[in-house]
Symmetry: C2
Subunit: 322 residues, 2 copies
């Protein structure tokens, strides 16, 4: 089957492969995500990162933590169209889930951070997010002896509390936040019953219609940038990072894992339901009108991308202060 | 020993009892708090209440949950002088901990709610807290079939989602949030080593100086109202509820359990450290100047009031919508 998959002005791809090869573009979620050589994972580092992830101390207001918007109770996102942050003001974009972000690069809708480590320091400083400074965050943490001791054990050195180490710890925690064993994973591993007939038809449509051209790999994202017209969006996207004319309105492909939990959709959160999201993508990315049955089948497939949520104890944060 | 303990204009008490009897005014934290006959506790109800406690769905913004300010990671409070809420605006008072609130009545700094059930619906509606309406909250929950099913199982009936049932479920969860086994509890149960010599001296001072006149009972609060001059406070307190002249500036005695974790202190959060709090209370409530050594000993005693924090799994909230 010759497939001409043209999903945007900036991204046009001719795939001359069979559907079964296309299915090979999607793999079960690996048990362990890629771990950078300069940020090995230890239980102590993960625990420290978990605490920092939940600590409003990292915000200027001392009221907002990473977990406020990347809420673990709601698929590590906020279920709002666009993120709220400092002053409860609204940012320009929909909060991406942290779930399986370890399998994605680059980070952010506009790909402005290459790694989780780079990403972690962004929201701490953003005016419409946590509105703190890195110096301020380091100073605040240094006032908490339990934190300083944890940083010393994890990173060593005389002054272990640094922005770099804050980022490393948070990234290490984030690499534990993965969702294996979705119906799709079980299906890919050979359990043909794992997908309902509807979802199996949807998986075939996902390949035949070309969704898979961008939504592939373990996290169902190619990590590439694509221009797709989204209702109401005037956001210049990747252009703000590169200043390349050809990047105007382009965004990095989001993961589809757990997409059923991470409504609303698109860079501006303008699409409320999964069904509408499939329709919009059919029209704007694939330039095709999917039939209502096709949309239902693809929706069933997307519902089969929900994996096991990471379960963990609510952290107890350090309380002692100098 | 005749003790004349006069802690405020509205509260003057002559206790003609020995210190050992005074110590009897403090009891180990019971394993189970009082449970109202019309709100029995079941695991399903507690689980539902836990979800509601963590769900920003109950706020007008969909961004603020009970747990935002009553943060389980920080002793079920926010470690801010005064609560932040909707719009990140600041309320008038310090967020009280939910820990052991099951042993306290009435609720709120000004005692305007008799029970946890009555309390629970206040912050949902308050403009400077969650700023929702009860009708809106019921409507929002009714859009989530998983919630409706849980309410039906717990409360029965055709329309199980009501403000009353929301309050009952949240209160049932709150009754599980208790902190047994503090050093004081172990001491009261006969383990004389459980208090350090400093803390044991502090306990004696706590009785001799008269702190115990108001801070008694399992949660170390008498549930009474007292006028105590607090730095910077102009809050009319209980008066706003009763409109009785004699209630001006009076507040309900706060619990001292876990007080080391629940800084800052006083109704307006104007006192940053436990040490200063002891000094202020000595001066303003007991009309005595405690020596630096006495303050240190009482502080050591207060540090011995930290119990075992409730540990639980981070909840996963319902995600399906009509």
């Amino acid at each position: 089957v010759l497939k001409n998959i043209c999903v945007s002005l900036s991204f046009c791809l001719v795939l001359s492969v069979s559907s079964s090869t296309l299915a090979g573009l999607i793999e079960p979620l690996p048990a362990i995500p890629p771990i950078p050589a300069d940020n090995t994972m230890t239980p102590e580092k993960v625990e420290l990162g978990k605490m920092l992830f939940f600590d409003p101390l990292l915000s200027g207001s001392k009221w907002i933590s990473c977990a406020t918007c990347h809420n673990p109770a709601m698929g590590f996102t906020d279920r709002l169209p666009r993120a709220l942050g400092h002053g409860m003001s609204e940012g320009p974009r929909n909060t991406p889930t942290v779930l399986n972000a370890a399998f994605i690069k680059p980070q952010f809708w506009d790909g402005r951070a290459a790694t989780l480590e780079e990403q972690a320091l962004g929201p701490i400083q953003a005016d419409v997010e946590m509105k703190h400074s890195l110096e301020g965050a380091v100073e605040d943490i240094n006032k908490m002896p339990e934190y300083v001791e944890m940083f010393r054990k994890v990173f060593g050195g005389d002054k272990p509390v640094t922005p770099e180490n804050i980022a490393k710890a948070i990234a290490a925690f984030e690499r534990t936040v993965i969702t294996p064993d979705s119906p799709l994973d079980r299906y890919l591993e050979g359990d043909v019953q794992a997908l309902s007939p509807e979802a199996a038809r949807g998986f075939q449509l996902f390949q035949d219609k070309g969704c898979i051209a961008c939504h592939n790999g373990p996290a169902l994202t190619d990590g590439g940038f694509h221009i797709i017209k989204v209702p109401g969006s005037v956001d210049l996207g990747r252009y703000n990072v590169t200043k390349e004319e050809s990047d105007k309105y382009s965004f990095r492909t989001p993961t589809l894992r757990n997409v059923a939990l991470t409504w609303p959709y698109m860079n501006n959160g303008s699409v409320a339901t999964l069904r509408e999201a499939v329709e919009v993508m059919g029209r704007e990315a694939l330039h095709t009108n999917l039939s209502p049955e096709e949309v239902s089948d693809i929706e069933a497939f997307l519902n089969a991308l929900t994996g096991d949520m990471p379960r963990f104890e609510y952290p107890i944060l350090p309380s002692g202060r100098l």
